[in-house]
């Protein structure tokens, strides 16, 4: 990934992760490409990572934000496990975002659990980047 790029997320290091067994990675890769275009340094985990692994990478790489991509319906469990893992490691301040197939009625409870933003495939990329830039200011 090229460093020192310009853009609203310049200088930000962001982890895009695929927790659980879901193999649909088109969305995660589109997001990774969009974040990179916006200047961020993106780390993409690849498929099938455990919440523990994702927390460890987030800490080791000292990321500014974590994006979880989940299309299997396991977003409630997996998001909470990552949030809990970060908190337990004293890194509860790293904002976590969730994207994927998230039923509208699940949005509120995810936000309540501590997720900072929920994006679905109809969220325009520009809107997502604005929101990230705002949170990561």
């Amino acid at each position: 990934m090229s460093a020192a790029a310009a853009g609203p997320l310049a200088g930000k290091r962001i982890l895009i992760a695929k927790p659980g067994l879901d193999g649909h990675d088109a969305g995660a890769k589109v997001i990774a490409l969009a974040l990179r275009d916006a200047g961020a340094e993106v780390i993409y985990t690849g498929l099938r990572k455990s919440p523990e692994f994702i927390v460890r990478v987030a800490l080791d790489e000292d990321v500014a934000a974590v994006g979880l991509s989940i299309l299997s319906g396991s977003h409630q469990e997996l998001s909470r496990e990552v949030l809990a893992g970060l908190r337990a490691a004293g890194a509860g301040d790293i904002p976590v975002f969730v994207g994927g197939t998230i039923p509208p009625q699940d949005r509120a409870s995810l936000l309540e659990a501590g997720v900072r933003g929920v994006f679905t495939n109809d969220t325009p990329l520009a809107q997502m980047i604005d929101e990230l830039a705002r949170v990561l200011q």
Binding site: L21, A26, Y44, R48, S72, P104, T120, D122
Partner: protein, 536 residues
């Protein structure tokens, strides 16, 4: 064969989703030589059967399955009572990825996107009261396809149904899993062996069963174009043919049981022509490359799914209309089996209500629309013949690029194909965000403060995972442990060498109630796991 589009003939900016410029009006000279082909005759542009759907209507095959085997069994019985003609089993991710439900990676996913089938005990429950000799069953299963196929044979044995009578399909297409769907387990080479084992075994034991369904659907839904979808799929198909030939298979025989699977998205004509072009191209490729002349072996048989990522959460009832148009495209393209997504699949597992509308859509197209009354009703249309030619040319070009890279296996192992698809997905997203690609109700014709109504909400019983875990523990207590251990040992020994077909050993493992997780662990011990190339 066809005249190239002349400058000025395309309205500015009007192109198919694959980027083919569309003429304002297609004329006879554009379509080239009038096509005198008949359906049922090589190269099958107009269809593989001379009488189209009159002799054999397409199979209405709705994909479903969730929770435990008991819940899915009830949904299947409901669908069969409503006139569905084939079953399509959705499996949960632990079963697809080869984990037992008590594995740490499996726990949150048990019963979520499909039914948990951790052992033969669950499959027996799944098909209770359903005669496997009278129904055709399709399994969307890849990484563990050989195991699930073995389990199906064991379930048939238990029901007393002769194996030779079984009809159905296992997807069993690992190559596209590495590219788009992600339920790979083993590295590419041993996976290809397992696929060849299952196909060659199926040719002998279940001659009416499709042991592979080479699928473009998932790369398409991930973002590539219709032309690329077909090209990548045929390239994978040729790779399987090569592997089967290497294993001593007879192409005239095994090619009869190769089947294909695609998505149908929203351009009616491009989708119909994709199938006309793909059918012709596959027959030509087998003929050109392998000298196949057997008509049955040259026939390109395929199933489709309508909907997927062409469905949106905004104004979700509009999806019913989209699926109906896609359903029509599939019929005009000559599909052998069709699955229509429910309108709420963009955001949840369908409810019984939405699933019924999806089923009725197919019945309306089949019995009311008239589209099935004659073979290839679009044949001879200047536009359709021209577009079919254009798409075939595009497919050959893309296949040429893969060949130039070094073949599809190398392209996948290196992550080259995966990267191409990611870039396409980004392009499609950008075109949607900008409004260049019109999605009614989402990026165009959206009401201010539009309150999207989602109708009934599907709720998966949260106690399901617990019940599945309990059944898993119960099975391990009650089965003949010594028989299971013997069967697993024999499997491992055979997997370690390349001399023996693994299918009979897998069937014995299933009969011994060894679990999917146990079988996969043994195979991983011999073969290792696929290392995903992550290239962005």
């Amino acid at each position: 064969m066809s005249a190239r589009l002349k400058p000025g003939e395309a309205a500015a900016g009007v192109a198919t989703p694959s980027g083919i410029a569309v003429p304002v009006v297609a004329t006879r000279d554009l379509a080239g030589v009038p096509d005198l082909e008949r359906p049922g005759v090589f190269p099958f542009t107009r269809g593989i059967f001379a009488d189209g759907y009159r002799g054999r209507p397409w199979t209405i095959r709705q994909y479903s399955g969730f929770g435990s085997a008991e819940e899915s069994n009830q949904r299947y019985r409901f669908l069969l009572e409503q006139g569905q003609t084939g079953l399509s089993v959705a499996l949960d991710l632990p079963t697809q990825c080869g984990y037992d439900p008590d594995h740490a990676m499996a726990r949150p996913e048990v019963g979520k996107v499909g039914v948990s089938l951790f052992s033969l005990s669950e499959m027996e429950t799944l098909f209770e009261g359903i005669d496997l000799g009278a129904i055709s069953t399709s399994f969307t299963i890849n990484g563990t396809a050989a195991i699930i196929y073995a389990m199906y044979l064991a379930a048939a044995d238990k029901q007393g149904v002769p194996r030779a009578q079984l009809t159905g399909t296992i997807q069993n297409d690992i190559l596209k899993e590495y590219v788009a769907r992600g339920t790979w387990i083993f590295p590419v080479r041993p996976s290809m062996r397992l696929i060849a084992d299952s196909i060659l075994y199926a040719n002998e034991v279940t001659p009416r069963f499709n042991a592979i369904s080479i699928a473009g659907a998932h790369v398409r839904d991930a973002g590539c174009t219709a032309v690329e979808e077909m090209a990548y799929t045929l390239a994978n198909g040729l790779a399987y043919v090569d592997e089967l030939l290497r294993r001593g298979g007879d192409v005239a025989k095994f090619a009869r049981r190769l089947s294909f699977f695609f998505y149908v998205h929203m351009d009616l004509f491009e989708e119909a022509c994709k199938f006309r072009a793909g059918r012709r191209l596959w027959a030509q490729l087998l003929h050109e490359r392998h000298g196949v002349t057997d008509e049955k072996a040259l026939q390109f048989r395929f199933g489709v799914v309508c909907g997927g990522s062409s469905l949106v959460a905004a104004q979700p009832y509009n999806n019913i209309v989209r699926v109906a148009i896609e359903n029509l495209a599939a019929v005009l393209g000559g599909a052998q089996s069709i699955f229509t997504c429910a309108y709420d699949e963009a955001f949840q597992i369908p409810t019984e209500f939405s699933a019924e509308i999806a089923l009725r859509t197919q019945q309306i197209v089949q019995h009311e629309s008239g589209a099935a009354a004659t073979v290839d009703p679009l044949g001879g249309s200047y536009y359709v013949e021209w577009l079919t030619d254009q798409m075939e040319r595009g497919m050959r070009e893309v296949m040429g690029e893969i060949d130039a890279y070094g073949g599809v296996v190398k392209a996948i192992e290196d992550g080259w194909l995966q990267r191409r698809i990611a870039v396409r997905a980004k392009e499609k997203k950008d075109a949607t965000d900008s409004g260049e690609r019109v999605v009614v109700g989402q990026n165009h014709y959206r009401r201010e403060a539009q309150a999207d109504s989602y109708g009934e909400v599907f709720r998966l019983d949260p106690a399901i995972a617990g019940r599945v875990l309990e059944k898993h523990a119960q099975l391990k207590r009650s089965r003949d442990a010594a028989r299971a251990a013997r069967a697993l040992d024999a499997l491992e020994a055979a997997a370690a060498s390349d001399r023996e077909n693994l299918m009979p050993l897998l069937v014995e493992c299933c009969h011994a109630y060894a679990t999917v997780g146990e079988m996969v662990e043994r195979l991983k011990g011999c073969w290792g796991e696929f290392q995903e190339p992550v290239r962005l």
